[in-house]
């Protein structure tokens, strides 16, 4: 299977990851257990796109603004849609990062690094670059940990035995 076919066939992994992250964050008051005693806080805000199908059969639901229509998003989920793109706020150890993530490729855009840390006396120079790369590495590490946690659950019996029933119950209740 070539790269493009693989990306198409397995694009659901990214969509399920963001959908899992959104539901887990809603159910657990934004707290996500990363394993090893670490916790991250994740909020979905300002922009959420859900879709289902592909090509001519693609159906998309786009929600924007501070008070996104979460009721509509839940209706979309009930109709079989999954998160295709989301604006996230991540907090770990007092570092807050805001970013948009596309489910199909996990590409990141509009990422704002933690406030108040932007340096220093060499704007645009190597120290600025290295500090920002280091902050970005921390953020990527959290995202990778979240993704790894999702995979751990997704590939275990926990997915069918605990996770999906919890989501279904929550969706019915709302």
């Amino acid at each position: 299977m070539d790269f493009i076919e693989l990306a198409k066939e397995k694009k659901f992994i990214g969509q399920e990851f963001l959908t899992w992250l959104w539901l887990t964050s809603e159910i657990n008051s934004s707290l996500i257990n990363l394993g090893n005693g670490q916790v991250a806080q994740v909020w979905f805000e300002e922009r959420l796109v859900l879709d289902s199908g592909s090509g001519d059969l693609l159906e998309s639901l786009s929600l924007t603004g501070r008070n996104m229509g979460l009721a509509e998003a839940r209706t979309g989920l009930r109709a079989g849609k999954k998160v295709a793109l989301a604006r996230l706020r991540l907090v770990r150890e007092d570092h807050e990062t805001i970013l948009t993530m596309k489910a199909e490729t996990l590409e990141i855009s509009g990422l704002k690094l933690p406030k108040g840390i932007d340096p220093i006396d060499d704007e645009g120079g190597p120290a600025t670059l290295l500090e920002r790369v280091s902050l970005l590495e921390e953020c990527i590490e959290v995202l990778d940990q979240l993704f790894a946690r999702f995979l751990e659950i997704r590939l275990s019996h926990e997915w069918v035995d605990t996770e999906l029933p919890t989501f279904k119950k929550w969706l019915k209740r709302k």
């Binding site: 992994i13 990851f17 490729t105 996990l106 855009s109 590939l155």
Partner: protein, 205 residues
């Protein structure tokens, strides 16, 4: 905007041949060989090449400009002149009318082709160049490349320039490949490959 300042867009790539590495001098040589060529004074449509991360006008690539311990960084510079089809048609029509008025003859097909090429060259000399720079970051300890952008066009241009420069395969870290890396050695290798899409609600798991 990007790794140095402002909001960041990011595409992550995995280096396929992790054993291949270059020392500072080899890197400098490769970057220089594929450095950006200025088209400000010549009628070219496009130029793509590497420039220093802190200075888009410099292609010296002294190792201190790109080699920062475990991180290497430089910029991809893309210069373009855009001539729309309607602009080209307008000036071609004007040139044809001028020729017919002067000679009283209609242009033959090959003459029209030559005139079109000449008009385009003239326009290229007059249209200003637009410049875009995108940061590239090589994280040696992670075997990963970051491109501070995620438009499909920029990714394609970057991937081609990377390949011509380093002759090392790169693959975008799409979810499946990232999952393979994260699960490496910790999970049944077949489990991920056999994974099927799961419904969250309604149609059962």
């Amino acid at each position: 905007m990007g790794l140095l300042k402002g909001a960041i867009s990011l595409t992550r790539y995995k280096i396929m041949d992790s054993a291949k590495s270059f020392d500072a001098e080899e890197m400098a040589e490769k970057l220089k060989q594929n450095a950006f060529m200025d088209i400000e004074a010549i009628p070219e449509e496009k130029s793509v090449g590497w420039v220093e991360v802190n200075n888009m006008l410099s292609t010296e690539f002294d190792p201190t400009s790109f080699w920062f311990g475990q991180v290497m960084s430089w910029n991809l510079r893309i210069d373009k002149r855009s001539i729309s089809a309607s602009m080209l048609n307008k000036y071609l029509t004007m040139a044809e009318a001028e020729y017919v008025g002067r000679s009283g003859e209609v242009l033959k097909a090959d003459e029209k082709k030559n005139m079109k090429a000449k008009v385009k060259q003239d326009l290229l000399r007059r249209v200003p160049v637009t410049t875009k720079t995108i940061e590239v970051c090589w994280l040696k300890n992670k075997n990963e490349i970051w491109l501070a952008g995620n438009s499909a066009k920029d990714q394609e241009i970057f991937e081609e320039k990377w390949s011509n420069t380093f002759h090392i395969g790169l693959v975008m870290k799409i979810p499946y490949l990232l999952a393979e890396d994260l699960l490496s050695g910790t999970s049944d290798p077949m489990a991920l490959g056999n994974l099927k899409s799961s419904a969250f609600f309604g149609q059962g798991a």
